[in-house]
Amino acid sequence: MQKKTLAIFSLTSCEGCQFEALNNFEAFSKLLQFFDIKNFRLGQEENLPGPFDIALVEGSPEGKEQIKLLREIRKSSKLVVIIGACAHLGGIQSERNFLPAKLINKEKIKNVSSYIKVDFLVPGCPINHKELYRCLLDLYWGKIFTLPDLAVCFECRQNENDCLLKEGKPCLGPVTRSGCNSICINNGESCLGCRGTTPQPNILKMREILGTMMTEDEIDKLLSIYGRIDQNSNLEKND
């Protein structure tokens, strides 16, 4: 079987998505039937330059070097797949964009798609390793990898959870993309939007509902835990 070449790159992040990728090590090593890992600093000594068939990119680009690296990755890879909320939305560190300059005077953090064209996305904080493996296998066989378009509420209902919003507790389930099996709500937490929004989220209505429970400022802070999901979820290049 012809193997495809894979590279795993990490920009500014906690590297948790790489660990989640290794979560099921047995399954991950089975993927090696399909892929040769050419570049993966966390796991191996010898790391080669491109070209790559697929490059996985974790983290948000920050500083000249990382932006340069990101553009090089784009040039040397047939497909660029971003993994995790940092690459997708900017991540927790992008909160600094909204802090007063006297506190932090640094360049704004932008997500990966603000710099380069992105082909596919595996969202979440952290990602779900099963979704990543499905993505890699789909791409190996030349299939287009798709994410579910429904909101987290859909899966949450299937899991028979009580609706937090009905109880007066803030939750971003109605605007957040499903595929996580509503893992946070199953575990007593509300949805905090780590997977970004559905393709056509009704943010205005979401704000209206949340407005009965919290102030405008608190809503902004809730929407921006992993990077402003109402602004950054789209994969099209922003500027």
């Binding site: 500014t12 500083g63 991540g91 927790i92």
Partner: protein
Amino acid sequence: MTEAVPKIEGHAAFYTHLKNGHVDKAQIIGLENDRFVEKILLGRKFYEAPIITSRICGICPTIHNVTATRAIENACGITASSQTKKLRQLMLAAQMIQSHSLHLYLLVLPDFVGASSSFELQKSHPELFKNAIVLKKFADKVLEVIGGRAVHPITSVPGGFKAYPSKANLLSLLPLLESAEEKAVETLQLFASFKYPEIERAMIYSALHNDRSYAFYEGEIWTTKGNIFEPDQYKKYIYEELKPYTRAKFGTLRGDEMMVGAISRINLGYDHLHEKTKKLTADLSFPFKNPFQNIISQAIENHHFVITAKELIEEFIKNGTEKEHLRPPKNFSSGTAACEAPRGTLFHFYELNDRGEIIKCDIITPTVQSLPSLEKDLKIIEPLLAGKTKDEQNIVIEMLIRAYDPCITCATH
């Protein structure tokens, strides 16, 4: 100056300058970008601290979650129930096993058996690789059952737990217990059998201490220099400074280099290790004086924590878990907590305003405290570098850096 060192957590390079065969200058250069976690927390509600700080590090998120949770509880006048404490201790034990087994097998072992990567190791030594899989699976499964997820826990919050494991979920851990203990024994024997580069030097070790047990969840900080202090006194003892050449901070014990992590905990708390672990380590001589022995210390701890986790799980299966209400904040002031992360003592400090919003935050990570001693040790390994080519010297230096198990993502949070 080298490229980023492979197989460590985060990006770091090192710079050593040799002059007439002597190591003249040694620097560890963190290449990670600062994410300013302490600042992005400002203005956020107290309960968001554990959620956001767990994102500091993907390999040790649980310890950040629990330490932040405890510090926030101290700032809110919340006392955790005994069940909550035990569940957290189980999570921390699993965190230790997860981190140690990954580090030992995937990052360190290839150096000792001559493989260049964990993937190569899998082909050349499948039986050893299996140990890593069994141990990591056990730890991941425990964290999934108790915390809701293996990376970035969900259930653990200030005041208690948002969800409790069902009996069925707890029982699903039962079949993993025996094999985990078996592999922990094998791991300990394997790493005790390796020959470590021999080097001895005087060093201060610092770790949490508890009079009755092997401290990792709470306690005072003891050092081998004789200092004893409560976690909230940390600013008087641990000095943080910035160096011009790196983004990672450097922390010292009032100006002296110190070592934290597995080797420190073993040197200070050997007597409190589990009896079974002590039996297996009877022919080793303590205290450890060689920085490379941090590796064997992790293998020893790995065994201790597998047994600790096993006993806690058996207790929870026997008695079940009780659904408790989250304990609400009594008041908002400031609070500190210190826990033992896989790499050493982790401090979190928060100050809250009267609306429960964070107005001050300070986090001191273990790697920050051990970077100065690592730089010092890079100089004393000089005899090991004599008569070697540049590439061979780099291998020894990389092995020392890996033995310290630095986490640069944590150090530059």
